[in-house]
């Protein structure tokens, strides 16, 4: 397979779905992701949102920052609700409406996982976007099964002892039509993946790394930088999987950039010892070797910009 790159020259086309005046924190990475997810999906969309920061951002009732119908469902039922909405639309003969789930990592990796796995197994027709801030940040930064190894949360004060679930691989293993990872530091890549998913059918899954400023300990202007460092240091690879087996790596790590450059930008990793940093580095390197093996290509890094 040919090496594949993100397209820095992809022209983002935004429909005005997401509205200013929403309730996200200043500089919120998740709000930025919501902007590109919603505005790429366009106005012919029904959204399903479980309890999460996204629900806060979409409110407050009776106001809504999203100029589309939004169904706020229960934390465990996003995929099931979306499947139901899709079937109702089919029954009404409306085949030009997108059904979109925007859930957090708690509602995807943990509490909503059973419904999601079932919907994936049935290949229900929806775009499922997980905005992953690696914890229950909305309720005060408790750990989720997305919280990375050794990261501090209020419920793992010494650092989380277990590794983060690899949700992209889990979903790819369901052999759904499309799985992608994305992050807000690469908005063209994110918008392109949403637009691509929109044109497909079946269950399309995108996990978007969205830095939580408060939960991660990042300054107000740092979400994009931290997001980019996650990719540049190899901590969070950007790639796509079609039909569970056709892999394409979009952006590879910048050669010589240690994961420490990512970790040191966040307060949640402040307690790490040198040995722990080395352990995380080894872990990242190992995951890359697995990804390379699955993708059957060596990744050619594209963005080589320095950071100061």
């Amino acid at each position: 397979m040919e090496p594949f790159h993100a397209e820095p020259n992809y022209i983002i086309e935004e429909a005005p779905v997401f509205s200013s005046g929403h309730n996200a924190c200043p500089g919120c990475g998740e709000a930025l992701a919501v902007r590109y997810v919603l505005n790429s999906m366009g106005p012919k969309t029904v959204a399903v949102i479980p309890p999460s920061c996204i629900a806060i951002i979409s409110g407050p009732q009776p106001y809504s920052s999203m100029r589309i119908p939004v169904y706020q469902t229960t934390l465990e039922a996003s995929a099931a609700s979306a499947a139901g909405i899709r079937r109702a639309l089919v029954r009404q003969g409306k085949d030009d409406v997108n059904v979109l789930v925007i859930a957090g990592d708690g509602g995807t990796y943990d509490i909503g996982f059973q419904a999601l796995s079932g919907a994936a197994e049935r290949n229900e027709d929806m775009v499922y976007v997980c905005l992953d801030n690696e914890g229950y940040m909305n309720t005060g930064a408790q750990k989720s099964s997305s919280t990375p190894y050794l990261a501090y949360t209020t419920s793992t004060p010494g650092g989380k002892p277990n590794d983060k679930k690899d949700i992209a691989e889990i979903m790819a293993a369901h052999r759904v039509p499309y799985v992608a990872t994305a992050t807000v530091g690469y908005p063209e890549d994110l918008a392109r993946k949403v637009a691509k998913a929109k044109e497909m059918r079946g269950l399309r899954f995108i996990v978007v790394l969205t830095p939580c400023l408060d939960g991660w300990g990042v300054p107000d202007d740092g979400a994009v930088r931290v997001s980019r460092l996650a990719v540049q240091t190899g901590f969070f690879p950007l790639y796509e999987v079609e039909e569970g087996e056709r892999y394409a790596i979009n952006v590879g790590p910048t050669p010589g950039w240690p994961v420490e450059r990512y970790l040191e930008t966040q307060r949640r990793y402040r307690h790490l010892t040198a040995d722990q940093v080395a352990a995380i580095q080894a872990h990242v390197d190992h995951k890359w070797s697995l990804l390379h093996a699955r993708a059957k290509v060596e990744c050619v890094p594209m963005f080589q910009g320095a950071e100061i």
């Binding site: 983002i12 997401f18 509205s19 200013s20 005046g21 929403h22 309730n23 996200a24 924190c25 200043p26 500089g27 919120c28 990475g29 709000a31 930025l32 902007r35 009732q61 009776p62 106001y63 809504s64 920052s65 999203m66 100029r67 589309i68 119908p69 939004v70 908005p187 107000d220 202007d221 740092g222 979400a223 994009v224 930088r225 980019r228 963005f303 080589q304 910009g305 320095a306 950071e307 100061i308």
Partner: protein, 563 residues
């Protein structure tokens, strides 16, 4: 407040939140503002360098050149001989190496000469006359800017031809005379009256000038070589020359009989010029400089080129005594260290114990600096430490209507400083004469400039710096053809693309793209302004600063909300 039990809302969601004023959360506001780039601040001629480089990268060479000559009418000259301080603080260094600004200027200057482009026309006459004393770079630059402000200008030049140092002080292998001549002619073509072979030699002649003209700019340069008396004492007559003397003899072809072995004393550009000229005329050349190679005032490149051409450099050393011997001259030398406690600008050499050595030579050429001869003007204007005292912003001297610049009013001895002085003097003169639109040139500081913490180099790919090609050493020593070759158009395009355009918005859209609140709006009516076309929507901006952090070039900054 509870709802009456049977009332069901007709609309569940309104589909908007843009009635809320999230802008009230803000503690700081992003502000779009043009800011000086470090290259502009470091440029003695205040050149808006990122502007013309951007036009080069867009392929619009003529517009680029017009931007460049806005402050500097001699880009082909400075593209060859400028000491390019503009490259000193270039933010591109964060990535791999500074931008080759001097090479781009050289390219643009030559391109304009090849295409015969004319300078912007002189303004409508304002009915006042200015005398410029000295037709070197300072005087010519002043004349250019004065013509563009509508003044009548007469240049008084003591020699037969205009150019001053450009013609008589810089060897052809660095600056071909025809290049300087053509750029000078372009200025003259703006309607400058030129009186060559006309020296303002005494205070009476100067008084007459002040009488006849509304203002006078004194830019007579520095013509008197400094001497080292202790060398003359021990050597035979005619065995110790000064640099200007030697270069003049070269032009006249009168260098025969000086002997084969030459020692040049000095560490500046003039000394290197003498040494390299002498190599081309077949001398064996050694060079003794007080400063070590790292801090010699000569440009790094010229010292490298001199070494390539076989000049033997004894840096951090001085000649203490000269003795005539049967075979020539014996020079007693000693290694020195410069006293770090000496006041700035003063060299205080301290001999190093056991650092003595001996050189042999047939002729010694000193090039240790020159002083201006201000006897004709000294009665009217104050002279400090040998140079005319002039205000840094207007070049005004202590005498009303008299301005001074270039080497006559400073000690830095750089062509570009002289050109900058001429420009500031022109605007100073215009302000003095009450020109309606002329404002005194305001110089920016490095503190105001975009620094390397304010650029975001993620948005630029690595790209190697382009260097000017050089003639091979063997070829150089056979004559006086120029050593440095101009960029090819491909090199110029590649080098221009490396510029970060610090401080000037080029509408890359990053601030717009990265706003989580969609509080950045594009206003097309503002397009092409140095601040760009973006507007912050006060009602929504929460002041996070993402637009500032992700601006690649420092064209937007945060200001604290003080109310």
């Amino acid at each position: 407040m509870s709802r009456p039990p049977n009332e069901i809302p007709t609309i569940w969601t309104t589909g908007f939140t843009d009635v809320f004023n999230t802008g009230t959360w803000r503690a700081a506001t992003p502000v779009y503002a043009w800011r000086p780039s470090p290259c502009l601040v470091d440029c003695p001629i205040d050149n808006a360098i990122p502007r013309w480089i951007k036009y080069i990268s867009e392929g619009d060479y003529q517009q680029a050149w017009l931007e460049l000559v806005e402050t500097n009418p001699f880009p082909a000259v400075t593209g060859r001989v400028c000491h390019h301080p503009c490259e000193g603080h270039c933010n591109r260094e964060v990535l791999e190496a500074v931008v080759g600004i001097n090479g781009l200027e050289h390219f643009l200057g030559d391109h304009a000469l090849d295409h015969g482009w004319a300078l912007p026309e002189a303004a409508e006459p304002v009915g006042k006359r200015v005398a410029v004393v000295g037709g070197g770079p300072a005087g010519l630059s002043c004349a250019y800017h004065l013509r563009r402000l509508g003044y009548q200008v007469t240049i008084f030049e003591a020699r037969e031809r205009l150019g001053g140092l450009l013609r008589h002080g810089i060897p052809e292998y660095r600056l071909a005379a025809q290049v300087a001549d053509r750029e000078i002619q372009r200025v003259v073509d703006l309607g400058v009256e030129v009186r060559t072979s006309t020296s303002v030699g005494d205070s009476q002649a100067f008084a007459q000038l002040r009488e006849e003209y509304d203002a006078v700019f004194v830019a007579v340069g520095a013509q008197q070589a400094k001497r080292l008396p202790h060398l003359d004492a021990g050597a035979g007559a005619g065995r110790v020359l000064d640099g200007l003397d030697y270069l003049r003899r070269c032009i006249e072809g009168a260098t025969r009989g000086l002997g084969e072995r030459m020692t040049v004393i000095g560490g500046g550009s003039a000394a290197v010029d003498v040494a390299r000229t002498a190599r081309r005329l077949g001398h064996r050349v050694s060079m003794v400089a007080l400063e070590t190679r790292a801090v010699m005032p000569a440009q790094r490149e010229e010292v490298e080129e001199a070494l390539e051409e076989g000049v033997a450099l004894f840096d951090g050393a001085m000649v203490t005594r000269v003795e005539a011997t049967a075979g020539g001259l014996r020079l007693d030398c000693v290694k020195v260290q410069l006293d770090p406690t000496a006041p700035a600008g003063e060299l205080r050499p301290l001999p190093v114990d056991g650092g003595g050595f001996v050189l042999e030579a047939d002729v010694i050429v000193t090039a240790i600096g020159q002083d201006p001869n201000l006897t004709a003007f000294g009665g009217d204007i104050r002279v400090d430490a040998g140079v005319a005292a002039a205000a840094p912003d207007t070049a005004a001297t202590t005498a009303a209507g008299v301005f001074a610049g270039g080497d006559a009013a400073g000690t830095s001895r750089f062509v570009s400083v002289a050109i900058g002085d001429g420009r500031r003097a022109a605007y100073g003169i215009a302000a003095y004469l009450g020109h309606p639109d002329a404002e005194v040139v305001v110089r920016h500081t490095l503190e105001q400039a975009v620094n390397r913490n304010e650029v975001n180099v993620f948005y630029f790919d690595f790209a190697e710096r382009n260097e000017k090609a050089k003639a091979p050493v063997a070829e150089r020593l056979t004559g006086f053809a120029e050593v440095n070759r101009v960029f090819t158009p491909e090199q110029a395009a590649a080098e221009a693309a490396r510029c970060l355009t610090c401080g000037t918005c080029i509408e890359c859209d990053n601030c717009f793209v990265f706003c989580p609140d969609m509080a950045v709006k594009k206003d097309d009516s503002k397009s092409d302004s140095p601040e760009g076309r973006y507007v912050i929507l006060d009602q929504y901006c929460k002041g996070c600063g993402l637009c500032v952090a992700e601006c690649p070039r420092g064209a937007v900054h945060l200001e604290q909300v003080t109310q």
